[in-house]
Each structure stands twice: as structure tokens, then as C-alpha cells.
């Protein structure tokens, strides 16, 4: 029940936004802030009260929706989704704070953002394949509009490409879901379908292929990634937070929650390929990021790279690797949101995102420069910060199963260090570039409010990763057991 309320609470926000009428910007922002805080409070309540037992009946809900096809409204939380459930609520709140560059149609912006939040929260709570898909797609039109209406001058093309690619992916995926559920009963309950039901290995492979394809487009895995750059670069900062922090995880979470445990025999032949795709993501992301003149594009490609560790961790099929993948979903969201917001702040102060035109930011904007360094070092996998823990687990897990890919992934970390350090050296250190004066000084209170929680979490989870791992561990063990890993 609590889960359902949390998932659908953003609808209240949509309603309030539509009813606010001609309220001024300040009122709208404060109201949106209040609305966005509520799901986060619910999630924190769930964590502190039920964190040790997410199966509590208070958190789950299940009733028939279309009984003749075995489709039900089934929601509940487990260790696989909880971290992302939390992150969705957090990043939506931060996206509301970070919406300072959204000036026109502010009410509509927040209303659409809340619809997207509903979809995202729902994905991480759905325990039914069709319900999962419904929530999965609810995010699509809102993201399309957020980018297309409030993005920069290239927004229309970017939004359209994003939409067509991911819609194609998810349509292929749902065809797989439907075939799967129909041939198993019909039954679409994720719990009942664990292990693939009575399907033969051949049938599982035939069904797993479209599902994997659809999910990998969403991530995106590298040959399927061409929609990503435009849409990341064109989005307003606030949309970036959600777009990079949550949306790729709909894909990776689908792999962990659905593809692997529900179709173990079908996914198994694809695991080596997935490990290779992970490594390709890591290395390709690092190389292309290195070549980007634009700071935002650099962050976008760095994001592709770190998503590769998630794929590698999942492909490992063992507890360590999957644990790393599940945690990396959260840590990636934290650092990429942090970096995108900082890039937004830097662009607003200097009027440029070109790395070559920046320089000496640490001296001129100490807070922004310092946090940028923190976020970038986190992205690089610096020990002591949260990303290190999850990447390390993914690599170790991956190495156990696929030694070559594991070594290559570790090499990818080195490549990552190269472009990150190079970028830091040219932007925040070195002499200030006189051609790009910094106007309006360091980050203001609102901006600090958006970035400090993310930075703090990166540090806290880096020191106490058990805060997250303890919650996800039991569910991760089940997934690893399903696919025969240790």
C-alpha cells in the first residue's frame, strides 16, 4: 500500500501544478519542491522502518487486473529496485531544485516531470511484466516533451531521435514479454515466472533475444547508443539529472530484475556478448569522452563508459558482480547528476561549455571547482568514493567469469583517469582564461542545495557501502543463484 501511494503521489503534484493557474514562479517552485519531497520522505520511511524486510505486507500489493491473461497489478519493493526507487525520488527532488534554467511554462514543466517520476518509480516497484512495461513507457512521452520543449536549439531533432530509438526498443521488448507471459500460462507475475517456468531452453533463448535487445537500447549499449549524445547535450540541466541519473537504469534494472532471473537459460548464451558490450562501452566511452571539446558531451560519454561496468557486472552472473551492478546503478546516477548540474552552473557563469575556453575555475569558483573535482574523481573510480566500490565489485565479479573482459575493464579505468584528469587540469586548474570572465560568482544557495546532497552521498556510500549493499544483498543472491553463479 505504501509503495502504491509513493508511486502515484506525483499525480497529486501534476494536479496541483495544473491548478496553480497564474501563480508566480517562486510559488510554483516552492510548491513543486514540497510535492517532490513527499515521495522521498516515504522512501526514507520505508528504508528506516522496513529496510531489513522489504517483503513486509505493508509494502506489497497485488490484485488481478486482466485475469483472463494473468495480468495483475502487483507492486512491491526488493533489494534490486530499492536503491533506484530511492534515487528516483531523490533525483526528482533535485531536478526540481535545479530547474533554475527553466523560465517559461514552469508549471507545465513540473507537471510533466512528475508524470515521468510516476513512471520511473513504478518501474522499480512493478512485480508484473505488463505493469513494468506500462510504467516503462509512461516515462517516454514526458521525457520527449521535457527535452523537446525546454531544450536548446537542437532539441527537436534530439527529442525525436530519442523517442524513435527507445520506442522501437521497448516495442520489441514488450513483444518478448507478451510471448513469454502467454506461453507460460498465461501469467505475467514476475514472481511466478522466476527461472523461466516450464519453457524449454530454445524457447527461452527466442524470448530473451528481443527482451535483451530492447533493454540494451535503453541503456544504451554501444552500437545502439547513437540517440544519446544529442539528447543529453540538448536537455536543460534539470532534465539531465533525471535523464542520465534514472532513465538508463530502466534498461539495466530490466536486465537484472527480468532478463536474468526470469530467463536464465535464455540469457546465458548472451552473457559473454553482454560482457563484451560492457567492455566496449567502457573503452569506447573513455576514448570518445577524451576527444570531446564540450564539457557536457564529455560527461555524457563518460556516462556511457560507466554504464559499461553495470553490463559487465550483470554478465558475470555471480553475487559479487551483480552486487556491483546493482550498486553502480545508484552511484552512476549520483555522480552523473552531480556533474551535469555543475556543468550547467559553469555554463551559466562563463557562457561557454567548451573545455578549451575554461580554465582556473578552482580559483574563481572554489565551491563549483571543488565539487567538480569530487564528481570527476568519483567518475574515475577514486577509492573512498562510492563509484569505486561498485566498479571494483563489477570488475572483480566480471574477472571471475570472463578474465579477459575483466582485465580490459580495469584498463578502462586507467583510460577514464586519463581523460578525467586532463579535463580537470584544463578547466579548474591552470591559469584563468581571460576571454571567459566568471559573472555572478560562485554557486548560490539554491545551486548548493542541488549539488551538496549528491556529493555527500558519494562520500558516505564510499565509506559505508554496506548501507546499500545490506539492503540489496539477499535479492542479489537469488538472481545469482537463478543463473547458477555463486
Amino acid at each position: 500500500m505504501i509503495t502504491t501511494i509513493t508511486v502515484f503521489f506525483p499525480l497529486v503534484g501534476v494536479l496541483i501544478m495544473l491548478l496553480l493557474g497564474n501563480a508566480d514562479g517562486r510559488t510554483v517552485r516552492n510548491t513543486a519542491l514540497g510535492v517532490a519531497a513527499v515521495p522521498l520522505l516515504f522512501v526514507l520511511y520505508i528504508y528506516f522502518v522496513h529496510g531489513s524486510n522489504l517483503d513486509a505486507p505493508l509494502l506489497t500489493q497485488s490484485f488481478d487486473w486482466i485475469s483472463s491473461l494473468g495480468i495483475g497489478y502487483r507492486v512491491g519493493l526488493d533489494g534490486l529496485g530499492f536503491g533506484m526507487f530511492f534515487l528516483t525520488a531523490l533525483l526528482t527532488l533535485i531536478a526540481v531544485v535545479a530547474a533554475w534554467d527553466v523560465q517559461e511554462n514552469l508549471r507545465q514543466y513540473f507537471a510533466i516531470l512528475f508524470v515521468a517520476e510516476l513512471g520511473m518509480l513504478g518501474v522499480f516497484a512493478a512485480q508484473d511484466l505488463i505493469l513494468f512495461y506500462v510504467f516503462f513507457e509512461i516515462t517516454l512521452v514526458p521525457m520527449y516533451l521535457l527535452v523537446g520543449v525546454w531544450g536548446d536549439e537542437n532539441r527537436r531533432r534530439a527529442a525525436t531521435r530519442f523517442f524513435i530509438y527507445t520506442f522501437f526498443g521497448s516495442t520489441v521488448m514488450v513483444a518478448g514479454f507478451l510471448a513469454f507471459g502467454i506461453l507460460s500460462g498465461p501469467n505475467f507475475s514476475i514472481e511466478a515466472l522466476q527461472g523461466g517456468g516450464e519453457l524449454s531452453r530454445a524457447a527461452q533463448i527466442a524470448i530473451a533475444a528481443p527482451i535483451l535487445f530492447g533493454l540494451l537500447v535503453k541503456v544504451p549499449a554501444v552500437p545502439l547508443h547513437s540517440w544519446l549524445l544529442d539528447v543529453y547535450v540538448s536537455s536543460p540541466t534539470s532534465t539531465n539529472v533525471v535523464l542520465s541519473g534514472i532513465l538508463p537504469k530502466l534498461g539495466t534494472y530490466g536486465l537484472i530484475k527480468i532478463a536474468v532471473p526470469l530467463l536464465p537459460a535464455g540469457v546465458e548464451p548472451f552473457l559473454p556478448l553482454m560482457a563484451i558490450l560492457g567492455v566496449v562501452n567502457i573503452i569506447y566511452g573513455a576514448f570518445v569522452a577524451f576527444m570531446q571539446p564540450d564539457l557536457k558531451a564529455l560527461v555524457a560519454y563518460s556516462s556511457i563508459g560507466t554504464l559499461g561496468f553495470i553490463l559487465l557486472g550483470i554478465a558475470s552472473g555471480n553475487t559479487l558482480g551483480i552486487n556491483g551492478a546493482v550498486m553502480q546503478q545508484v552511484t552512476h546516477g549520483l555522480y552523473s547528476a552531480l556533474l551535469f548540474i555543475l556543468v550547467g552552473i559553469i555554463a551559466s557563469r562563463t557562457g561557454t561549455r567548451r573545455i578549451a575556453e575554461l580554465g582556473g575555475l578552482a580559483a574563481r569558483m572554489p565551491w563549483v571547482g571543488g565539487l567538480l573535482a569530487l564528481g570527476a574523481l568519483a567518475a574515475m573510480g577514486l577509492p573512498g568514493l562510492a563509484v569505486f566500490v561498485s566498479e571494483f565489485m563489477s570488475i572483480m565479479g566480471g574477472y571471475t567469469t570472463f578474465p579477459v573482459q575483466g582485465v580490459l575493464a580495469a584498463l578502462g579505468i586507467v583510460l577514464g583517469a586519463v581523460y578525467i584528469l586532463f579535463m580537470l587540469q584544463r578547466t579548474i586548474f591552470g591559469p584563468p582564461n581571460p576571454a571567459t570572465p566568471v559573472v555572478a560568482g560562485d554557486a548560490g544557495p539554491t545551486e548548493m542545495a542541488a549539488v551538496v546532497p549528491l556529493a555527500l552521498l558519494l562520500v558516505v556510500l564510499g565509506i559505508f557501502p554496506s548501507l546499500l549493499i545490506n539492503v540489496q544483498q539477499p535479492a542479489v543472491r537469488l538472481v545469482a543463484a537463478a543463473i547458477g553463479g555463486s
Partner: protein
Amino acid sequence: MEVTAGTFVALLPELVAFVFSIIVLMVGVFSPRTSGLTTGLAAFGSLATFAAAVLLLAARFEGSFFGGGYVVDDFALYFKLIIALSAFFAILGAARWSEQTGDAPEYLSLILSVALGSMLLVSMRDLFGVFVAIELATIPSYALVAFDRRRRESPEGGMKYLLTGMIASSVLLYGIVLVYGVSGSADLAQVALAFTGQLSPVALLGLVLLVSGFAFKVSAAPFHFWTPDAYQGAPTSAAAFLSVAPKAASFAILLRILLEGMPGAVETWTAVMAILAIVTMFVGNLLALRQRNVRRMLGYSSIAHSGYILVAFAALRGAGAETAVQAVLIYSAAYAVMNLGAFLVLDLVGEESKSFNGLFGTSPGIALCMTIFMAALVGIPPFSGFFGKAWVIAAGAQSGSIIAIVAVAALVINSVLSVPYYFGIIRNMFFEEATTGDIEPKGMGAAKFSVYALAVVTTLFALFVGPLAALAGASGLL
């Protein structure tokens, strides 16, 4: 053959629609043309028709009449509900338009007549009865298309529709006659006895002509040519109604003929249907991509959607049969709400895709509704169209036949193909600047109400789909 009180009960929805189509005409003669009285009466008549069908459904009224030629069952009543409700929204959508022309009563009466013919059609179990009911539904629709004499396109579209419609009717009649010749009866139960095993060439020809005749009626390719012209010419509310109600009725009766009259030839006609479906989907979508006129685009889109429904026909075998029947029923309902809505928006905004520019800024409510209709037509959940497509895909998977699965794959590809043209509208509404300082037309309260109501139903379709599926499951065609 005896006519009892039960016969009149069985015909209750049709009788109500008939009486009101007469009343509207009569009152129209005497009442001032701008009073809105006739519109109110017609709307009330369609609601009363709907209520009559609900009543029969609630009373679990079933039976066959006129010597078995006319049947009332859940299946037929289900479609009568869709038809009556579509008529209601089309009549509301017609309100302003008919005020302008002063021809309102005839127009409204024609809509009720089409509804009447369509409702009779879904209950027919005799092939000649089928033909008569189809003509009853089609002849008034020629007049509806040609009704707007102020625009050149309207009579032109009406004429095209009339000519192709006549050919379609002849083809259909020829098919019926051949089937009759082979089986010695027009009664579906008797036909079923003759259509088993290896079909004789004459029987096969009869089947193909029959299906071709229906392909005209549901605008399946390659018999679709009339559709865009007719919809572009027709007054908006007429196009909305014709794209939904008579089409749903044609699908319903085709389903009944194939399942009750030709179960022995299932291998043959599922193959025919699969080919028809694949061609129709591609033709509809590829041609829709090229359109700048939204009304024409919706015309091609309706061809594509006929293709999607035909995929369910290809899956009508083996374990997939029951799901496939449900798919046709649910798709028809889902399509009715989203397509009626999309058409009715045209009267509020305009029919060139440019006229949608910047609508999000000028009238956000209508823009939101149109977004819902477009997303629903693409098949994005939680909107109604998704459930239609999901059921079709499920039926294909269940049937396990290769050709049905190929058709399902084509459906998936086509859903993606359709994104650019539906989302072109959304793009224009949200991303473009308004080109003209459009002022919303006045006196559109009723049409606006229709649009909003249909948007709500399209959005909350997920709540109705369970009961609808239960009803569809109980329809007892199998």
C-alpha cells in the same frame, strides 16, 4: 417464423435508434434551425440506444429470432454499445457544424441511420441479412460524406465513396451468392457444413470475394482507395463516426461469418487474413507518413489500424482463437475512443498540420488531449491503443502459427513506423511557435466536452479493460 414480444425486446436498441432518427427529422421540420433542439434530441436518442443495449446485456437477454437469421448475444450487444456511444460523441461533435449550415436534422438523422444499420449488422446470422444490413448502414453514409456542399472536396469524396462502395457491395453480393450456391443456404450453420475439408474452386472464390467485399468496407489494402478522400471530404464528425462505428460492425460480422460459417476452412482464411493484414499495415503507415493534412493522415492511419485488427483474424486458430476474438473486441473499443477523439479535435483546431503549431501555448487543454490521442494511436501505455495491440500480439503468440507470428512482427515494425506522423502533431503542438493568433471557435462546448470525455476514457482504459475482456470472453462465438 413467428414474431413475439421477445422479438421486439431483441430489437430494442435498433427500434430506439430508428424512432429517434424519425423524430429528429420531424422535429427539425418545425423547430428553428439554430435552437440546438434537434442535436439534443439526437444525442439523447443515441444515449437511449446505448441504455437499451446495456439493459439487454444486464438482463442477460439472449436468443435467436426470425428463424435463426437474427441473433442477440453478448458479442452483438458489445458492438452495439460501441456503435451507440460513437454515435453519441459524433452527434455532440456535429453541434457547431450543423448550426452553421442549418441542415442539422437530416445530418443527425443520417448518423442515427448508420448506427441503426451497423447495429442490425452485428446481429445477423444470415448472409442475405448481412447484405441488407450493410447497405442500410452504407447508403446513409454516402450522403453523410457528401453533406458539406460548401466545400468541393465533400461531394467529390462522396462520389468516390459511392462508386467504390457500389463495386464493393456487388463484389460482396457475388461472394455471398457463390457461398449460397455451394452450401445451398445463407444460414451460417448450414454454410459451415459445406465449408469443410478441401474447398472447391467455387467455394474458394466465394470466400475470397466475400472477404474482398469486407476488405472494402473496413478499408483494408488494396481496397482502401476511397478512405482518405471520403474522410477528407466528409464533415469532421461524420468522418469520425464512419471511421469507427460501421468499421467495428464490419469486423464483428466478418468475425461471426468466419467463425460460425467457415470454421472448417480456418487454414485458408487465416492465411488470407494474414496477407491482407500485412499489406494493409504497410500501405496505411507508409502513405500516412507523407501527409500534411491531418484529416487525410487520420484516414491513412485508420487503414493501418484496420491492418492491426486483421492480424487478430490471422491468429484465430488453435489456442489463440479465444484471445484473438477478445483482441478484435478490445481493439474496436480502444480504437473507437481514441480515433473519435483525434478526429473531433480537428474541428476545434484545423486540419492542416500547421494549424497545430504552438497549440500547447494557446490552448494547453486541447493540446494535452490530442497528445493523449496520438500516444494512444501509437500504442503507448497506459492509453487505450496499447491494450488493443497487446491483445493482438498475445493472440499471435498463442496461436503459434508461423504466418500469424510474421504478421505480429509486421505489427511491431509498423507501430514504430507510425511514430513520426503521430508525433509530428505533438511536435507541432509543443515545439513550434504558433503561426496565427488563432482564436478558438465559439460555440464548441459540446465538441469540447466530447474531446475531454474521450481523452479521459482513453487514459483510464486500463480500468475498463478487465471487465471488457471478461465480457469478450463470455461472448460465446467459439
